[in-house]
C-alpha cells in the first residue's frame, strides 16, 4: 500500500488584504447583499493544479521548481496545514514537518528550552524529548550557545538548531524545505551526511530544494513543478539529463 497518495490535487490559496479583514466592510457587504463589494481585496492563487503522484515505502522525493512554483504549498498540504481545494491526499503514517527554521521559536528562551519545545511540537513526549536532548545538542554543534537566548543567534545558528531537532526523531514521513543552506559550509556537509543516514530510517521523505547535487545524492524520485503544475515525475538521472 502506498504511503502517500496524491490524486488530482488542486490547492487554492486565498490572500486577504487589509480591506478584507475589516469588520465594517464585511457587515456592509452583508447589508448590501454582497453586490457592492464582492470579493474586494481577496485574491485567490491556484498554487497547485491537478498534481498526482504516489510514494511507496523507501521513496525519497525531491521537489524542484522556481520560487513560487508550489513546492512549499505541496509540503504544507501533505502536513495538513492546507486542505485540498479538490482532489485527495492520503497519508498513511506519522509526519514530521521541517518547513521553516523559525517555526515555534521563542526568542527570549534559551536554545535548550527551545529544543524541548520544538521536539514536543513534533509530537515527542516529555520523556522522548528529554532523552533526545543530548544527541540534538551534539548534532547542532552549538555547545555553550545553547544556554543563551535564541534571539542572540545568527540565522545559521538558528538553522542548525532547527535542523538538529527536525532530524532527531523518527517519523514515518519527513517533509523538508531545504533551508539548511543558511548554515555554513562545514555544517552543510555534516548535515548532508546526517540526512543520508536519517533518510535511510524514514519510510518516506519529501524534500524541496534548488540544489541538484542534493537531489542526486539523496533522492530516488524527482517531481518538477512549474506554476503549480506537475511537469514531470521520474528518477533524478532521467530528469536531470533532460
Amino acid at each position: 500500500m502506498a504511503l502517500i497518495e496524491v490524486r488530482d490535487l488542486t490547492v487554492d490559496l486565498p490572500i486577504y488584504s487589509t480591506q478584507a479583514r475589516s469588520l465594517r466592510r464585511s457587515v456592509m457587504k452583508l447589508s448590501t447583499g454582497g453586490r457592492l463589494m464582492r470579493d474586494e481585496g481577496r485574491v485567490v492563487i491556484r498554487a497547485i493544479s491537478g498534481a498526482s503522484f504516489t510514494l511507496e515505502r523507501g521513496d525519497r522525493l525531491g521537489l524542484v521548481g522556481h520560487n513560487g512554483s508550489g513546492k512549499s504549498t505541496l509540503l504544507r498540504t501533505l502536513a495538513g496545514v492546507y486542505r485540498p481545494t479538490s482532489g485527495t491526499v492520503r497519508v498513511d503514517g506519522t509526519i514530521s514537518a521541517a518547513l521553516d527554521p523559525m517555526m515555534g521559536l521563542e526568542p527570549e528562551a534559551s536554545g535548550l528550552t527551545n529544543i524541548i519545545a520544538l521536539a514536543r511540537y513534533r509530537g515527542a513526549s516529555r520523556r522522548e524529548a528529554m532523552a533526545a536532548l543530548p544527541a540534538i545538542a551534539d548534532l547542532s554543534e552549538l555547545g555553550p550557545f545553547l544556554d543563551l537566548p535564541v534571539k542572540s543567534y545568527s540565522a545559521g545558528m538558528v538553522a542548525r538548531l532547527a535542523f538538529a531537532v527536525a532530524t532527531s526523531f523518527e517519523p514515518d514521513i519527513l517533509l523538508m524545505d531545504e533551508w539548511i543552506a543558511a548554515a555554513d559550509h562545514a555544517f552543510v556537509q555534516k548535515a548532508r551526511s546526517h540526512l543520508q543516514s536519517y533518510f535511510a530510517q524514514a519510510k518516506a521523505v519529501v524534500l524541496a530544494t534548488h540544489d541538484f547535487g542534493v537531489i542526486q545524492q539523496l533522492c530516488n524520485k524527482v517531481l518538477v513543478l512549474e506554476n503549480g503544475v506537475a511537469q514531470a515525475l521520474g528518477s533524478p538521472a532521467e530528469l536531470l539529463a533532460a
Binding site: L23, A79, V91, D92, T94
Partner: protein, 266 residues
C-alpha cells in the same frame, strides 16, 4: 515512532487528537507562564495580588456606599473578581490564540484546537494562583466551607466548557477580523458593570429579569454561590449547562466549516 498525523486526519479525528495531545498543550501553557513571568519576583502570584487589592478596595468602598456588611460582602467580591478575571482574561487572550501561533499554524502538523486549549489552560493555571488569596479573604471574614461547596467543582467544569467554546469562536473571529479584539475588550468592560461582581444579584430589583439574560451572571453564580454556602438557582444551572452544550455544537460546526481557513487568516 514520533510524529503527528497531518493530512491523514478528518475533522473528527483532528478534534480527538487535539484532546489526546493534552500533555502538549498543558506544556505549552506552562511555557507561556514561565516566559511571561521570567525574572519576575512573584510570577503568576502577581495576579493574586491584583485580585487581593481590587477586592479590598472594592469591598471597603462599596460596603459603605451600599451600606452593607463588609464581612459578608468581601468574600462575595473576592470570589467575583477572581472568577471575572478568569473569564475576561481568557476571552481577551483568546483573540491571540491563532494569530500569536501563526508560525506553528502555518508550518506544523498540529491540530488547530491545541492553540485554543493552550490559552484556556494557561488562564486556569493563573486562576489557580489566585485561590490562596481568595481562601484567606474568605477565612478572615468568617466564611467557612459548607457541604454545598462541592457543587462549585461542577460549576467550574461547566465554566471551563463554556470558556473553551467561546475562546474557540473568538479566536476564529479575531483571526479573520482585526477589530474583534477591541470589541471583546471594551464589550467585557461594559459587561463587568452589568454583572453582579460589585453588587448582590438581588440589588437588581425590578431589573432582575434583565440580569437573568446575562449569561455571565449564571457562569459566576454556579461557582460563587456554593462557595458562599448556598446552592445556585436552577436557572443558573440550566443556562450554564445549556450554553455549554449549545456552544460546543457551534464550536464544532465552525471548526468543520472554517478549520482550513485559519492558516490563511493568521
Amino acid at each position: 515512532m514520533t510524529g503527528l498525523s497531518g493530512a491523514a486526519l478528518n475533522p473528527g479525528q483532528e478534534l480527538s487528537q487535539a484532546l489526546r495531545l493534552w500533555p502538549l498543550w498543558t506544556f505549552m501553557s506552562w511555557q507561556d507562564i514561565r516566559q511571561r513571568y521570567r525574572g519576575s519576583l512573584l510570577g503568576p502570584f502577581w495576579v493574586a495580588g491584583g485580585v487581593a487589592t481590587a477586592s479590598l478596595g472594592a469591598s471597603v468602598l462599596f460596603s459603605r456606599v451600599l451600606q452593607i456588611d463588609n464581612r459578608e460582602f468581601m468574600p462575595f467580591v473576592a470570589l467575583g473578581i477572581a472568577l471575572w478575571s478568569l473569564i475576561s482574561l481568557t476571552l481577551i487572550e483568546a483573540c491571540h490564540s491563532f494569530t500569536a501561533s501563526w508560525s506553528l499554524i502555518r508550518n506544523a502538523a498540529l491540530p488547530r484546537p491545541v492553540h485554543v486549549l493552550r490559552t484556556v489552560w494557561r488562564n486556569l493555571i493563573v486562576f489557580a494562583h489566585t485561590l490562596p488569596v481568595v481562601a484567606i479573604m474568605l477565612w478572615l471574614n468568617g466564611q467557612r466551607l459548607h457541604p454545598e461547596a462541592v457543587l462549585a467543582l461542577l460549576g467550574l467544569g461547566l465554566l471551563m466548557v463554556n470558556l473553551v467554546w467561546a475562546a474557540w469562536v473568538i479566536a476564529l473571529l479575531s483571526a479573520r477580523f482585526r477589530d474583534v479584539i477591541q470589541l471583546i475588550t471594551y464589550g467585557l468592560q461594559f459587561v463587568s458593570f452589568i454583572t453582579p461582581i460589585f453588587w448582590y444579584p438581588d440589588m437588581a430589583g425590578r431589573h432582575f429579569g434583565m440580569l437573568v439574560l446575562n449569561p455571565f451572571y449564571h457562569w459566576l453564580e454556579v461557582i460563587r454561590a456554593p462557595l458562599l454556602g448556598h446552592a445556585p438557582n436552577p436557572e443558573n444551572w440550566a443556562v450554564t449547562g445549556g450554553m455549554a452544550l449549545a456552544g460546543t455544537i457551534v464550536a464544532i460546526l465552525t471548526f468543520r466549516r472554517y478549520r482550513n481557513d485559519i492558516a490563511f487568516w493568521v
